[in-house]
């Protein structure tokens, strides 16, 4: 019943690896200003110089240091996807709890909304929106969180439906607890593991989507982003530049997604006893 998720995560090899990877990304993103050898916006060398001791990953078409770009890119990627995921998870929570607790009209509205959101091709909407609105970091966060809450809301509603008949809810209601108290002290704590898993999974999707959108050009060109890097590098594949320009951001995106995926899987198996193996390993 009582699982210490943190310990479980650390015990599992997958989870541990994922945590180290996320830790590495965090250090890079937070310390970008100190780690990056150059200002990623500055023109520091002649365009398209190949890797050298001064520029380990070379220089892009406008003379910016690619390694510094990559390091600053981690910052935007993590910022956007973590905030978008947190917002989306909160939205899922709100919608799911509402649908689960207040059956009838609120439930029907929320659930039809969820159905609609699940049908909508997220990428298409994002592209359309970005075509009309300035696609900065804030817009992207807003868009991603509005587009990704639906699956989480559905899972949370189902959980609330089964949770709300548990004895300690009835008992708390018997003491005179109102809905607010019940949600805060009994419902949300019970949902913590679910929210954690949901959060991690949404981060993973957000990283992927953000990179994809940036690759399609739907992102503020003034900011550093892995997707944008791929977008620009793609035009120079005929030169040899792709080896040090295209590959590193692609690897970085995969690295991030794998990191969150590992933690997500590990958390999920810690929460669901059916996924637990006989021995930890």
């Amino acid at each position: 019943m009582h699982v210490n998720y943190w310990t479980e995560l650390k015990k599992d090899r997958k989870g541990r690896t994922g945590l180290y990877m996320i830790g590495f990304l965090l250090v890079v993103a937070l310390g970008a200003a100190w780690i990056a050898p150059y200002d990623p916006w500055a023109h520091v060398a002649s365009p398209l110089s190949p890797p050298s001791w001064k520029h380990p990953l070379g220089v892009n078409d406008v003379g910016q240091d690619i390694l510094s770009e990559l390091i600053y890119g981690a910052r935007t990627t993590l910022l956007v996807s973590v905030i978008a995921s947190a917002a989306s998870t909160l939205l899922s929570l709100g919608m799911g709890v509402m649908a689960g607790l207040f059956r009838g009209v609120p439930e029907r509205i929320v659930m039809r909304l969820v159905d609609v959101m699940l049908i909508i091709p997220v990428f298409l909407v994002a592209l359309l929106v970005a075509a009309y609105v300035n696609p900065g970091a804030f817009t992207l966060i807003l868009m991603l969180s509005l587009l990704m809450w639906a699956p989480g809301a559905r899972i949370i509603r189902t959980q609330v439906l089964s949770l709300k008949w548990q004895g300690h809810f009835t008992a708390a209601r018997q003491f005179g607890a109102g809905t607010g108290y019940l949600v805060r002290h009994h419902l949300v704590p019970e949902l913590y593991p679910l929210l954690a898993v949901n959060f991690i999974q949404v981060v993973r999707r957000a990283v992927f989507m953000k990179a994809g959108l940036a690759f399609l050009g739907v992102f503020d060109p003034a900011q550093k982003s892995w997707g944008l890097m791929i977008h620009y590098a793609r035009e120079f594949v005929f030169t040899g530049a792709w080896q040090w320009w295209l590959l590193p951001p692609a690897v970085a995106v995969s690295f991030t997604i794998i990191a969150f995926a590992l933690v997500g899987y590990s958390l999920e198996s810690a929460l669901d006893p059916r996924l637990q193996k006989g021995s930890t390993g």
Binding site: M1, G167, A171, Q174, F175, E190
Partner: protein, 612 residues
């Protein structure tokens, strides 16, 4: 015939009669007692020792050593103004008394017959022949043959002494006979003999009788009307049968509950609190510190004795034991949706039939302050559903539940929250009712936090108190344990502490012990009943265990197919069940544990059926 008005008796603490020394000027033993005795009537006076019964009796014959105020009118004459000489003429010939522990009243050096003659000779000096005739007739009547006439007191047994004293009291043909604990020092058989004798004699001669006793049985057998005395104040009076079978005053009820009878199966319970010493009597209603339903006024003002229906006298600010919870026509229906929806259908080909199960069908129930009501029934009879409705957990489909006169399902959210405090439920499975994310302290403090009672410090104290009530440790280690560290019994105790920390008026306990093993079960039930008595809440005990219901309940309600088919005092229901289902239940329940040949249980044609 006899009218006692505002009789107050005080003793000075240093006079011989008062055993207690105190700094008070005087000790009030009787406080404004009113009594009335009609010719030929037999009045009983019941009370614990120390309640002032004997002082009252002594005042009536002018032998009270204390300071007597008020008025005692006997056939229009004021007795309190009489001189000792006048008293001498009244005693014996008009008012005669048989005293408690009265073996000492016989002179050791006179033969029995002469002793019995003595009171008559005192009133009619010289009429020795008449005295002898009367005395011998009376002695024979009380069962002492002529062989006893010349015997000396020390050769007589206790019962024989008592008989001769009765004869002595009757010899001058008094109008009023006062019996002060006439049989309390005798063994059961002799007691019964003497009581029949007294009953026979007093009825034959149509004496007016005042019986004073702490023994309910004595009073029940001799008196037509009974008055209940507590700490020198009159609590309740009325027809003996009604007073003892349907006590209205909280004190009378507790007294009856504490009295052992063969009929009663219920475990004996003392009255909560301590009997106050005479030099430290509580103000206002003397019973209020031990009462389960005191108001503020009870501590300040003596309630007036009012006549309620049927010549019943009651002195209680609350009008006697109050009705806490009353439900009328409570019905609960559950839709069996799952069955209807499980068949996948297209179009309107299958008519949607609304299947429903009526778990509770129009139940009427009254719960009184401080009583234990055992709701008995087999599984599926609807007792849990009813319990949840009573505690306000669920709303019934129809019917009304009134708590202190307010319909609990029609309150504003604020009032509803306030009412919740008084209605608590102990759920069948304690483990489920406790959130596994909270430690013991948080669990027990939760009701207080929800109800916004007190601050952190006072909550801490309240939690400690509640845990002590349920005999759980209060050390830091225990307070920080989580439910999965606790045993089943401990979980149930924590759940109980949680319910009690709000000091509820009604506690519905749903099979509180069903999930525990036998030894823990007994402990929990004992604890629950003990707490009920100490804390004075109304307990609804839901159980399928007949033996438990009988031992715990003041009243038992038997539930069958959503209805309460029979309801009444536990002893009556279990000895003389009326409804065929109750009979079947009793027959099935007779435990085979201690009988050599286990009988096969018959359901008597009763079964639980679901309308599916």
């Amino acid at each position: 015939m006899l009218k006692v008005k505002d009789l107050t008796v005080k003793y000075h603490p240093h006079s011989g009669a008062a055993k207690y020394h105190s700094h008070h000027d005087h000790i009030t033993v009787l406080d404004r007692v009113n009594l009335q005795l009609n010719p030929g009537e037999k009045l009983g006076l019941v009370g614990e020792s120390g309640s002032g019964k004997t002082s009252l009796a002594l005042s009536l014959v002018g032998m009270c050593e204390g300071q007597v105020q008020g008025s005692i009118k006997y056939k229009g004459e004021e007795l309190l103004e009489k001189t000792p000489q006048q008293w001498g003429r009244i005693r014996g010939s008009r008012i005669s008394m048989v005293r408690q522990q009265s073996g000492e009243m016989l002179t050791p050096n006179l033969p029995l017959l002469e002793q019995v003659m003595e009171p008559y000779l005192k009133d009619y000096p010289g009429q020795k022949e008449e005295a002898r005739r009367r005395a011998s007739t009376l002695l024979q009547k009380v069962g002492l043959e002529s062989s006893y006439f010349q015997r000396y007191p020390y050769t007589l047994s206790g019962g024989e002494v008592q008989r001769s004293l009765i004869a002595m009291a009757l010899v001058s043909d008094p109008e009023l006979l006062i019996l002060d604990e006439p049989v309390s020092s005798l063994d059961a058989l002799t007691r019964s003999d003497i009581l029949s004798l007294l009953d026979e004699v007093t009825r034959e001669q149509n004496y007016s009788v005042l019986v004073i006793s702490h023994d309910l049985d004595t009073v029940a057998r001799l008196a037509d009307r009974t008055a209940v005395l507590y700490c020198g104040a009159l609590m309740e009076a009325g027809d003996t049968k009604e007073v003892l079978q349907d006590p209205r005053h909280p004190y009378t009820r507790s007294l009856v509950r504490a009295y052992p009878t063969l009929e009663g199966i219920k475990e004996l319970q003392g009255i909560r609190g301590e009997f106050p010493p005479p030099d430290n009597r509580p103000g206002g209603c003397p019973f209020h510190p031990r009462c389960t339903q005191p108001l503020e006024i009870c501590a300040h003002k003596r309630p007036r004795a009012d006549i309620i229906e049927n010549n019943r006298l009651l002195s209680c600010h609350r009008g006697g034991v109050i009705e806490l919870l009353r439900c009328r026509g409570v019905t609960q229906r559950f839709k069996l949706e799952a069955t209807a929806k499980s068949s996948v259908s297209f179009g309107k080909s299958t008519a949607k039939k609304q299947l429903s199960l009526e778990a509770v069908k129009g139940v009427d129930l009254n719960l009184h302050e401080g009583e234990v009501y055992a709701l008995l029934g087999e599984s599926g009879s609807g007792k849990t559903t009813l319990g949840r409705i009573l505690a306000g957990v669920d709303r019934p489909c129809s019917g009304e539940i009134h708590f202190r006169g307010n319909n609990i399902n029609r309150l504003s959210p604020k009032e509803s929250k306030k009412t919740r405090r008084y209605l608590q439920m102990l759920f069948q499975n304690a483990g489920e009712a406790l959130s596994h994310r909270m430690a013991v302290f948080d669990l027990v403090a939760e009701p207080l936090i929800i109800q916004e009672i007190g601050n952190h410090q006072s909550r801490k104290e309240a939690v400690n108190r509640a845990l002590q009530w349920v005999h759980l440790p209060v050390d830091e280690d225990f307070l920080h344990r989580y439910p999965h560290h606790l045993s089943g019994g401990e979980l149930q105790r924590v759940a109980l502490a949680r319910a009690l920390v709000l000091q509820p008026k009604v506690l519905v306990a749903d099979e509180p012990s069903a999930s525990l093993d036998a030894s823990v079960q007994a402990k929990i039930v004992k604890l629950l009943l003990q707490l009920q008595n100490e804390r004075g809440f109304t307990l609804v005990l839901i159980t399928h265990d007949l033996a438990l219901a009988a031992r715990a309940g003041d009243r038992v309600g038997i539930m069958h197919e959503g209805k309460i088919v029979e309801e009444g005092p536990a002893s009556r229901i279990l000895r003389h069940p009326q409804h065929p289902y109750s009979k079947a239940l009793l027959q099935a329940a007779s435990s085979s544990l201690f009988t050599s040949s286990p009988q096969k249980a018959h359901r008597g044609g009763f079964s639980v059926s679901f309308p599916v």
